[in-house]
């Protein structure tokens, strides 16, 4: 099965931004290539006494704006091009939020389903040893990603600290709360999305206290989105769904009740209230705000014309196909693009770094307050760019981010 190389997509996106920003081809070329890559071979002693060699990567895509930041993935299908692409996207995401960080990513080709807890720990520590010279609180700060957990972050921090001979909490984020993690991380993504929705509603003059919302996907992000929309704005959640189907209820759905049903029966489609709907129908409901929070490519050229929502807040990664994006833009649907809408997570990761540096930890309220400032500022910068360049919000986000990276490179004298 042929699959599109994600790094090729990144390079095309850079080209598109470069055309809009009228960038010099030399600058574009810098943006289209990672600055540093580390390819690793990690020998790990397995439980049965054998030694297995794992391949790993760490890519620092661009550190013009500061130390690189990005997750570590443990995945059997990991490829260097995937890591490169994800490192580039981290660069743009951090720049968009105007964090003093560049973008990076790492990964190990492994299947955690085939590793015992002890092997997983030895692998994580082996990775920490191998990248020791390459990462650091002021160089490159990894974080959890696919199949990596706060526990793995703790092991890596511990191994790094042991080599350094001192506690180095700031070397990695996404650590357990008890070991230098930040409060507010659990619902950071949804919270960040809510701040964007609030600002978008202001722009579009939508009264959120009267707004109706449909949430597609009811995992962690979807649940928090439903809960926070009600708590923060008094909006009415009229529809929720997951992969097994969902429920539409004009009088409103209680987010916690839906979560309880999902835990008990594995799906919100078993909610007793309202009418049953499938996970595709929910996208076409007549609501003010649609929050896709689960899967990629759910809004396509086929259903995009039928979308009735005024705002689509992309909590999930890539819920709209490029074809759908164009249709929605022409229809006047306001799309809050994924890498803005779900940037709450990386922003709180950055806050964790700051707290680690200062050895002083914030309350949840302080985290939310600062997150609000960051997300609100970022939203408006994208809005302005979208107006200035007359481009859709997604393109505007890329343009704004690339613009900032280019500015940093220029000031450093790289270009």
């Amino acid at each position: 099965m042929s699959q599109i190389n994600p790094f090729e997509i990144v390079r095309k996106q850079v080209d598109k931004c470069a055309r809009i920003l009228k960038l010099d081809p030399d600058v574009t070329e810098v943006l289209k290539n990672p600055m540093r890559e580390l390819h690793l071979s990690l020998p790990v002693r397995m439980d049965n006494g054998s030694t297995k060699l794992f391949k790993g990567y760490r890519v620092q895509y661009n550190d013009a704006k500061g130390p690189t930041k990005g997750g570590i993935r443990f995945h059997p299908d990991e490829t260097i091009d995937t890591v490169r692409a994800l490192a580039a996207w981290m660069t743009w995401k951090c720049a968009l939020l105007d964090l003093p960080l560049g973008g990076g990513k790492g990964g190990i080709i492994c299947n955690p389903k085939e590793l015992s807890e002890g092997e997983l720990e030895r692998l994580s520590r082996a990775y920490a040893r191998a990248v020791y010279q390459f990462i650091g609180p002021e160089r490159d700060v990894p974080a959890p990603d696919v199949y990596t957990t706060p526990q793995i972050m703790a092991w890596i921090m511990d191994e790094y600290s042991a080599i350094a001979g001192k506690s180095q909490f700031g070397v990695i984020t996404g650590k357990p709360l008890a070991l230098g993690g930040s409060k507010g991380r659990g619902d950071a993504t949804a919270k960040g999305g809510m701040y964007c929705i609030r600002e978008a509603a202001k722009k579009l003059k939508i009264d959120l206290s009267k707004a109706t919302i449909a949430v597609q996907g009811y995992g962690n992000a979807g649940y928090y989105a439903a809960k926070l929309a009600k708590e923060m704005f008094g909006s009415k959640i009229v529809a929720v769904c997951d992969s097994q189907g969902g429920c539409f209820c004009k009088s409103g759905i209680d987010a916690d009740e839906a979560q309880k049903i999902k835990t008990k029966t594995t799906s919100v489609c078993n909610l007793k209230t309202g009418d049953k709907i499938d996970s595709e129908e929910i996208l076409e409901l007549d609501v003010d705000i649609l929050i896709p929070s689960a899967m990629e490519n759910v809004i396509t050229e086929k259903n995009a014309p039928k979308i009735k929502a005024k705002i689509i807040a992309e909590l999930a990664n890539g819920p709209c196909t490029p074809e759908a994006d164009d249709i929605l833009y022409k229809k006047g649907v306001h799309v809050i693009p994924d890498f803005l809408c779900n940037a709450g997570g990386v922003t709180v990761s950055y806050f964790e770094m700051v707290q680690n540096f200062n050895m002083y930890y914030w309350t949840e309220a302080e985290v939310y307050e600062r997150l609000d400032t960051k997300m609100t500022t970022a939203y408006h910068s994208v809005w302005d760019t979208h107006k200035d360049y007359k481009i859709n919000m997604r393109q505007a986000a890329y343009v704004r981010a690339v613009e900032r990276v280019v500015e940093a490179m220029r000031l450093r004298g790289w270009v």
Partner: protein
């Protein structure tokens, strides 16, 4: 009222809710001191309250009560006979105070004088109602095991209160058998008598040891007959204690034993060989002592007994004498089934239905109603009562144990019923629930699924008799619920090797919290912990997925509702105080499950996830199961499938209760598969040599084939999505269901990422016999197929064979030309789907290959599977 009449023992009053005027209390004892203990307290209470206390002295045994002021001793000589003695006693009762306390010598002594149990029972039956009528409270004693069952039964039926007293390991226990018009949820459990407060024995393992030690012959037996069964049994009794090693029996004893095994278990040569080898005479006599009625004990019971004996007999790393929990099961002999059929005019009906299996489920409901209206003969009812008295209020399960079931070659998994009895309420209520359970199990012998299975297995006309295994439900009470902390099924081969690290020749365990029904049944949308014995720390999920694919609901018995139900983990464990919670659950912290190194913080039950991590990693459980499965497979000579419960003792040790063991030879599982020697290349459609499930499937008519290249070439997401829906419609087409279908397409089927495979749900593929995931190697990387996903688990659980095929693997074969040249019959069969035929290729194998069918043989032990064309195969 009741509060005024006390026993002199606070705990006893609390247990029995005090005495009522006219109560007769019969103490069934092994030694007189026990009776004296209770009688002295009762007399002391009477003296304190300044009540009249009369001691009826008629036996030759020492005095029960001291000769002291306030106690009136009345000496009556029983020698003149029943009539005189009874009249004297009645005269004294007539003249005593209405609130007097009456204490009698041990009634058993009367038999020495009168030489008959009958007169003893008669005395009680005339005296007890008289006391009841007048109002005093009376104490009587009976020595256990000294009297005919019929006499004791009459006394039991007449008295208001009957209490067993016994000693185990220097401790005294009392077990109320009958308490008229009083009830509490723990009244009928055995209680440990101690000075610091009486404790009910409610943990199943302890109760089983206690009751089986104290009551060696819990069932009253009918009058001895000269039937061969009884003759052999009596002859073997003589040899019971002479030799315990089966191999060392003399030819005469061995022959008698063999005959008894044949009578109790049946005529299966392989099974009987094992039974001969492992069962001791003592085992058989113990089983006989717990057999209600006569006849065979059935396959399930025999498998349970044999497997336990194998573990106790053979030597290995684990000492199973220290690990196996005692069982105290009863068996309802297969003759009782026939008696029930004949007595209730159901025999003809059964014969007729066995010949013709076309009964609908609705028709079966009518049959079931006829069974429920049936009755048992009085002697069986009497033994049922004995058994229920023995169990008291301990929950029991009534399990089918038919002669064909659970034996070599025929699993009948889930075809016959098992019924839980929470066993709460008074004796009548408990009896009614038990009778209903037995009748439902009997009716299930002719349910449509079972009959159909029997016909498919060629067993239609075979002699199928339904014996029943009555087991104490393994577990302990928690709040109003009763359940075991751990239960599950364990296979000696791994059917679910999601990575090649896992050794398929070692076992697999499906572990649950609560009753094992959750592991045995297919639980839609909920999951069990799957443990590979070779690599117990591995699991098919990682990260946050562990939370999603964990067990969320727990099967329990609700003692307050006298019912079986499911509770969510969060609700059941809301108080976070379940013993050893940190061994079975992890706590979601920072969004991920973490092991608890201390007890669960209050208010965090929503964050508990059943991972069993500490139980697997920090207790000897896996070592025990590994050894158990190896030993059973070695003894059986083939893979085995077991059901078990597990408990953690206060020292962190693990106890296993082996509930069932049978040979594992189901289609689609890990049994040895014979591959034909000569299959030509033209016959082969594909082969697979990676991780596969096993079995043999024959005569498959259709193949649904989605070409991976064509699929990859589809650009539109909507078109890709529509393929999944089309597959679902084909899956439900009657011709496809009837003819059988293999579905082949790019892996991973059922993935949430549509680019990774065909977007289907379980219901879209549930008619398929085999699901083939095709993975093409690209740029040195082979994409992962569905191993370990919940979707794969669905396949395993529903018996759908799963095969990954790697067409570009030089060691595999893939007959591309067959698939390319076969006509697509989709437009013919389902014209409405014609437009999908460019992407979905439906092959009628019979049409394409001139009457041949597709056959699949797969053996995971050698990592070999082959799909080939051949004529139909029976």
């Amino acid at each position: 009222m009741a509060a005024d009449i006390n026993s002199g023992i606070k705990d006893l009053d609390s247990l029995l809710q005090g005495y009522q005027p006219g109560d007769n209390i019969v103490w069934q004892i092994d030694n007189l001191d026990d009776y004296a203990f209770f009688a002295e307290k009762f007399a002391g209470e009477a003296l304190d309250k300044k009540k009249q206390c009369i001691y009826f002295r008629f036996a030759s045994h020492p005095r029960i009560l001291p000769d002291q002021p306030g106690i009136t001793t009345v000496n009556i000589d029983p020698a003149p006979g029943f009539d005189f003695f009874s009249s004297e006693v009645h005269n004294i009762i007539r003249d005593c105070d209405r609130d007097a306390s009456l204490i009698f010598d041990n009634l058993s002594s009367l038999v020495t004088t009168w030489a008959t149990d009958e007169l003893l029972a008669n005395f009680f039956m005339v005296t007890c109602p008289y006391i009841f009528e007048l109002g005093p409270v009376a104490y009587f004693a009976l020595t256990r095991g000294k009297h005919l069952h019929t006499a004791v039964a009459r006394i039991r039926d007449t008295t208001q209160i009957l209490i067993d007293v016994f000693h185990v390991k220097n401790s005294m226990y009392i077990h109320p058998i009958k308490v008229w018009k009083r009830y509490s949820s723990q009244m009928f459990l055995p209680h440990l008598v101690s000075e610091t407060g009486w404790e009910p024995v409610s943990i199943s393992g302890e109760a089983a040891v206690l009751s089986s030690t104290a009551l060696k012959q819990p069932l009253g037996t009918s009058v001895a007959s000269g039937a061969p069964w009884e003759v052999i049994f009596d002859r073997l009794q003589k040899y019971r204690n002479i030799e315990q090693q089966p191999g060392a029996y003399t030819p005469e004893i061995a022959s008698l034993k063999h005959e008894l095994i044949r009578m109790m278990i049946g005529d299966h040569p392989s099974f009987n060989k094992l039974a001969d080898e492992y069962f001791t005479i003592d085992d058989l006599i113990n089983a006989r002592n717990r057999l209600i009625g006569s006849g065979r004990i059935g396959g399930k019971a025999a498998g349970m007994l044999l497997s336990r004996r194998i573990l106790l007999a053979d030597k290995g790393p684990i000492d199973f004498a220290k690990v196996l929990e005692a069982h105290d099961s009863f068996y309802i002999g297969s003759d009782v089934f026939f008696t029930f059929l004949v007595k209730n005019d159901l025999f003809q009906l059964r014969m007729q239905l066995t010949r013709d299996s076309s009964m609908s489920h609705e028709e079966f409901e009518q049959v079931e109603r006829r069974f429920l209206a049936g009755e048992f003969p009085p002697e069986i009812m009497s033994q049922f009562r004995d058994m229920l008295d023995y169990f008291g209020q301990a929950p029991i399960i009534v399990r089918s144990s038919s002669l064909l079931e659970d034996r070599f070659g025929n699993a009948f998994a889930g075809k016959y019923r098992s019924e839980f009895c929470a066993n709460q309420g008074g004796p009548e209520q408990r009896m009614n629930a038990f009778l209903q359970a037995v009748k439902l199990v009997y009716a299930s012998a002719i349910n449509p699924d079972a009959l159909s299975y029997r016909h498919k297995q060629g067993l239609g006309e075979n002699d199928e008799q339904m014996a029943i295994l009555v087991q104490r439900v393994s577990g302990m009470p928690y709040k109003q619920f009763f359940f075991p902390p751990l239960a599950g099924v364990a296979f000696s081969r791994n059917l679910y090797a999601w990575t090649n690290r896992i050794d398929p020749n070692r076992g697999m365990i499906r572990l649950v919290f609560g009753l094992g029904t959750h592991a045995v049944n297919r639980v839609g949308g909920d999951y069990t912990r799957i443990v590979a014995v070779s690599d117990p720390q591995l699991r098919p999920e990682a990260g946050t997925k562990i939370i999603k694919y964990s067990q969320h609901n727990v099967d329990v018995l609700d003692l307050s509702a006298d019912d079986f139900r499911s509770e969510t983990v969060a609700e059941l464990l809301v108080d976070c105080d379940y013993p050893n919670l940190n061994l079975v659950t992890s706590l979601v912290t920072d969004g991920y499950p973490q092991e608890m190194i201390r007890s669960c913080p209050q208010g965090r039950s929503d964050d508990l996830v059943l991972t069993f991590n500490n139980f697997i990693n920090r207790t000897p459980f896996i070592k025990i199961m590994d050894d158990m499965l190896k030993r059973l497979e070695a003894a059986y000579g083939q893979p085995v499938d077991t059901e078990f419960t597990a408990h953690i003792d206060p020292e962190g040790g693990v106890k296993i209760n082996l509930l069932q063991c049978r040979s594992l030879r189901l289609p689609g599982t890990a049994g040895r598969v014979e591959f034909p020697e000569h299959i030509s290349d033209e016959q082969i459609l594909f082969t697979s040599n990676r991780f596969i499930s096993g079995g043999a499937l024959h005569n498959i008519r259709y193949i649904l084939y989605i070409d991976p290249d064509k699929y990859a070439g589809i650009e539109s997401i909507d078109v890709k999505k529509s393929i999944g829906r089309t597959v679902g419609r084909i899956n439900r087409h009657p011709s496809v269901i009837e003819g059988g279908i293999i579905m082949m397409g790019p892996g991973r089927w059922g993935s949430s990422n549509i680019n990774l495979g065909v977007n289907v749900g379980y219901s879209d593929i549930d008619s398929t016999s085999v699901l083939v995931e095709m993975a093409r190697e690209e740029r040195g990387h082979v994409p992962e197929v569905s191993y370990g996903t919940h979707f794969f688990q669905d396949l395993v659980e529903s018996g759908i064979m799963y095969l990954p095929v790697y067409p570009s693997d030089p060691e595999s074969k893939f007959n591309e030309s067959f698939f390319e040249s076969a006509p697509n019959v989709l437009p013919d069969i389902m014209p409405e789907l014609a437009e999908s035929s460019s992407l979905i290729h439906l092959i009628d194998v019979r049409q394409k290959s001139n009457g041949l069918y597709a056959h699949i043989l797969a053996d995971p032990t050698v990592h070999r599977a082959i799909c080939f064309l051949d004529i139909t195969c029976a």
